[in-house]
């Protein structure tokens, strides 16, 4: 009898299941940060509901708790309080905060896309026309990403602009509202707007880019990166069981009937594994270019 009680007490105090390995009744969590789509947190409500339902049905876990933030400062404030299991974040956000929160990049959104800088016709003829001038756009929430990855001095696709010297002299003005940025451009209050290539094409089709021209464009990058918040696993390469289930569900989402709408809302066609060597190269470029080793956090 005493021996049986001892076994019970053992299980009581030394749970064989670590904290991260919760039962299926505890909801995992997923944070979506600066994905650019599907727009504002309010606009994303329906999308979040669909994604939550999909993940619950695929993983057999409790319906995940989902959050959506377009502004980095709001996202950071939320992450300071609690780290989710998984995140879908912009590449810029990943690069800037990966060390701070122990991100492990597991998937990338596909297809890759370009970033396009547009300006009023004839206003930007040489790179110096952008010096000290306001440039608006969503990616500018991560100015270092724009300067070091999208439009560095060495960016070949931007070299078509006479006197190209990188984006260091731009004055960034981040915004989540494309309409507002184009309005400011139309009123000649800013010099240029940075758009995703899909935004550029559709705004052009909608006739919102009258008297506006493409100035430069970037190389191709994934619109979003899926990251595991490692937390307790920070020093290890592994991920928790819940994270693994969520990652698997996201990886195969493009093959699941009726789930295509979720991807469509995110503006991509699938989530695929990170290309070998690519991300480490970008990370290296982000942190070490121009000898800024001290910026490693």
């Amino acid at each position: 009898m005493l021996q049986r009680r001892g076994i019970l007490l053992f299980f009581l105090f030394f749970s064989p299941f670590p904290e991260k390995c919760r039962g299926s009744d505890t909801a995992p969590s997923l944070a979506i940060i600066q994905p650019g789509r599907p727009g504002s947190p309010k606009a994303a409500e329906g999308f979040l509901a669909r994604l939550g339902e999909y993940l619950a049905s695929q993983t057999k876990l409790a319906r995940p708790s989902l959050s959506y933030q377009n502004k980095p400062e709001e996202a950071l404030a939320a992450l300071e309080k609690k780290n989710p299991d998984l995140g879908i974040v912009s590449l810029g956000f990943y690069l800037e905060h990966r060390k701070r929160f122990g991100f492990k990049a597991v998937l990338e959104a596909y297809p890759l896309r370009k970033y396009v800088l547009v300006a009023s016709e004839g206003k930007v003829k040489t790179a110096s026309d952008l010096d000290g001038k306001l440039v608006m756009g969503g990616p500018l929430y991560e100015p270092k990403f724009v300067r070091r990855i999208l439009f560095p001095e060495t960016e070949k696709t931007a070299a078509s602009l006479a006197g190209w010297k990188g984006a260091s002299a731009w004055v960034p003005k981040p915004t989540t509202r494309v309409s507002s940025a184009l309005y400011q451009l139309g009123k000649n209050r800013i010099r240029a707007v940075l758009l995703y290539d899909s935004q550029y094409e559709s705004m052009k089709n909608l006739g919102r880019l009258k008297k506006v021209e493409k100035v430069i464009e970037s190389s191709y990058y994934p619109p979003a990166v899926i990251v595991a918040f490692r937390g307790a696993f920070k020093s290890a390469a592994t991920v928790s069981e819940e994270q693994r289930l969520l990652i698997t569900a996201l990886e195969k989402i493009s093959t699941v009937k009726d789930a295509g709408g979720i991807l469509q809302q995110m503006g991509c066609k699938e989530f695929r594994g990170i290309r070998s060597g690519w991300l480490s190269e970008v990370e290296k470029k982000y942190h070490f270019e121009r000898g800024e080793k001290s910026e490693e956090k």
Binding site: G39, A44, F47, A49, G132, L134, S180, Q199, G261
Partner: protein, 280 residues
Amino acid sequence: MFCAALVFLVAGCSSYEAMQVSGTEPKAQLNDVLLPAAVLEERIGEIDQSYEEPRTVYRVSHSLGTSKDSVSSGNGYQSLWRGVRACSWLALNHQNPKEKKKYALEGVYLGREARQKTSLQAAAYYYSAICIGALLDTVKEPNTKLLREMKYCLEVAHELDGSYDHGGPARVLGTLIVEASDYEFVGYSVGSLEEGITTLETACGKDPVFGENWLLLAKALTQAEEYQRALAAIDKIFTCEIPSDYSVEHKEWLIQAQNLKSGISIKIDDSVPATSFQPK
């Protein structure tokens, strides 16, 4: 009041198109009642009285019920749009989400009936549009067909009687345009931010002493970073009369205007551009 819901109207109008709004046309039974003209007239009075302030779910539900029971060629189907009006209020103000959706759906159905039967009345188109907006709000998914129908209804309502409900058609249409201006897909686009502002200015012109017109214009101007013009619009709100049919809402508009003014003051302080990129 109705425009407040438009902030949420296009929620989800980003890129997803596959959603079907099932049951948009419930098969409600609308019998053409045969009642004496005097009774029908009395009923219209009862419907309007139940819709007067102070509006409650109980009173507006009564207005709706009486409207549905009074559909008749004998009164030129004048109860139909009144039923849509009641649905629109209930869909926007009911506390229960399921009830909201139910009334929105019913309003969409009744609205289509009302537009057929009273095709020259702005009210039929106007409240029909608001019910469509309320439906989109409850389902939180985009639907190109419904958005197009809503825009069409508001444009027709504006053509028929632009001053209806204190410039309501232009007010709701302008808000719809502003709220949807960030969506880059052709199916969901109803206009640019500039067009939205212009449409809201039209609403202000239709009824310059109606607070909500100026409030919504101020919000749109804030979005466009036209802060001085937004402050001027806010000042107009404080000079507006208290409308007898929106006295409850007017108080809320004043609070919102005050908050918006405070928010703009902070933004003006912060409007010095962000720091330029760090030099190498």
